[in-house]
Amino acid sequence: MIATRDETLAIRHSDDVVRVRQAVRGEAIAAGLGLVDQTKIVTAASELARNTLDYGLGGTARIETFTDAPRRGVRLTFEDHGPGIADLDQALTDGFTSGSGLGLGLSGARRLSNEFTIHSVVGEGTRVMIARWK
C-alpha cells in the first residue's frame, strides 16, 4: 500500500499544533472521510501533536494520505526525542497525567482511531502512529 501523499510537519510551537490540525483536516477530506471521521482524526491529531510539544519537547508529525483502493484514509505518525514514557499502561489510563491536563489525550486518541501503535524508549523518545480508514 503506497501513500498518495506524504508530508512531514515540524511541531515546535503551539501554532504548529493548529497547523497540523488544518493539514490533517485537508488530507482527511482528500481521502474521502466523512464528517464524523474527519472530526475524530483531527481531534486525535490535536491531542497527539500537543503531547509531542508539551511532553516530547517538540518533534514531527508525518501525514500519509491514502486515496486509492483498497484502503482510503489517513495515517499519522508523531515522533519526538523527548524523555520517553516509562509506564505505557499508566500513560494510557484514562485520567492519568504527568502534567496538568485532563489525562484523556492519549487514551482518547486511541479510541478515536482505527489503528493505534505506540513505541517509547525512556531517554530516547516516543513514536505514536494512528490511522483512520474509510
Binding site: V18, T39, S46, G101, L102, G108
Partner: protein, 288 residues
C-alpha cells in the same frame, strides 16, 4: 600574498565609491526599492553604511564563526534593520535578499579589474567573497523570516482580542460566542472577559456558544470546564450551546464529560435561560 579577505577589505576601502555607485544601479535595476517604497536616499544610505560596516569587519579579520563573529556585529545590526523594515513594508523575500546578493556583482567586477592578469587570485578571492556574501544573505533571510513571523504573531493576538466579545442577550443573561482555535493565550482572554461581564452586568446565566470552534479536544474541554467553574464561583451558571453532532460523538470517544447543561443551538439555550429566570416568550395573536 595577503589572504583573500584582506584583499577584499582593501578593495572595499579603496573602491568604496565605485562599488556603491554600481551596487545602487544594480539594486534599482533589480527593483529592490520595491517600486518606490524605499526612497532612493534611504537606499543609498543603507548601501553606504553596509559597505562601511563590511569594510570594518573585513579589516578586523574574520574568524571561524564567519559572519556570526563579533567583527560583523555592526554589519549584522544593519542587515537586521534593513530586513525588518522591508518585512514590515511587505517586501517579498526576493526583494529583500537582493539587497545583499546584488553586491556580489560589483565586488567581482572590481576584483577582476584589479587583478586582470591573475586569474588564480580572482577566482580564489572571488570564492571567499561569494561565500561571505552568501552567509550575509542567509542571515538577512533569517531575520526577514523572523520579522514576518512576528507580524503574524501580532496579528494573531489582535484577532484573539477582537473575537471574544461578551454579548448581553437579556437582563442577567450573557452569551459568549466562541470562534476559531481556543489556544491557551486566547482562552485566558475569553475567561477574563466573561468573568468581568458577569460582575458588570450581575448576570446569573452565561451561554457559551461553541458553534464556531472547529475542534474540541481535551485542552479546549479543560479550558471550558475551568471557565464554567470560575463562573459558578461567581454565582453564574453556564449553558453550552452549539455542539455539533460530529463534535458530540468525538467528545464521547475522547471520554470528556462537560458537567454542564448543553443545548444544540443558541436559540435552545436562550429558551432554557428564559425558562430558568422565570420568563416566557409569547407570540402575539395574529391580527384578523
Amino acid at each position: 600574498m595577503d589572504g583573500g579577505l584582506a584583499i577584499l577589505a582593501r578593495l572595499v576601502e579603496t573602491k568604496g565609491d565605485a562599488l556603491l555607485t554600481r551596487w545602487r544601479e544594480l539594486l534599482l535595476e533589480a527593483g529592490a526599492s520595491g517600486g518606490g517604497r524605499i526612497k532612493d536616499a534611504e537606499l543609498q544610505k543603507q548601501c553606504r553604511e553596509f559597505l562601511q560596516a563590511l569594510g570594518t569587519a573585513l579589516n578586523a579579520g574574520v574568524d571561524a564563526r564567519g559572519v556570526a563573529g563579533p567583527e560583523f556585529a555592526s554589519a549584522r545590526a544593519l542587515l537586521d534593520e534593513v530586513s525588518r523594515s522591508r518585512a514590515a513594508q511587505g517586501f517579498s523575500p526576493r526583494e529583500t535578499a537582493t539587497f545583499v546578493f546584488s553586491l556580489k556583482g560589483p565586488l567581482f567586477e572590481q576584483l577582476r579589474d584589479q587583478f586582470a592578469d591573475d586569474a588564480v587570485t580572482v577566482s580564489n578571492v572571488g570564492w571567499e567573497m561569494s561565500q561571505l556574501i552568501d552567509q550575509l544573505g542567509l542571515y538577512t533571510m533569517e531575520v526577514f523570516q523572523r520579522s514576518r513571523e512576528e507580524v503574524v504573531r501580532r496579528q494573531q493576538e489582535e484577532i484573539a482580542e477582537l473575537s471574544t466579545p461578551v454579548v448581553k442577550l437579556w437582563n442577567g443573561i450573557l452569551a459568549l460566542p466562541l470562534i476559531g482555535t481556543l489556544d491557551s493565550a486566547r482562552t485566558q482572554v475569553v475567561m477574563e472577559n466573561l468573568l468581568q461581564a458577569i460582575v458588570d452586568q450581575s448576570a446569573e446565566l452565561a451561554i457559551i456558544d461553541i458553534t464556531g470552534v472547529p475542534t474540541v479536544d481535551t485542552l479546549v474541554a479543560q479550558h471550558l470546564l475551568k471557565t464554567i467553574a470560575a463562573a459558578r464561583l461567581m454565582g453564574a451558571d453556564c449553558i453550552i450551546s452549539g455542539i455539533r453532532p460530529q463534535i458530540a460523538q468525538t467528545m464521547v470517544h475522547l471520554g470528556v464529560e462537560l458537567d454542564v447543561v448543553s443545548k444544540a443551538t443558541l436559540a435552545d439555550a436562550l429558551a432554557l435561560a428564559f425558562q430558568r429566570t422565570g420568563r416566557t416568550v409569547v407570540r402575539k395573536a395574529a391580527k384578523g
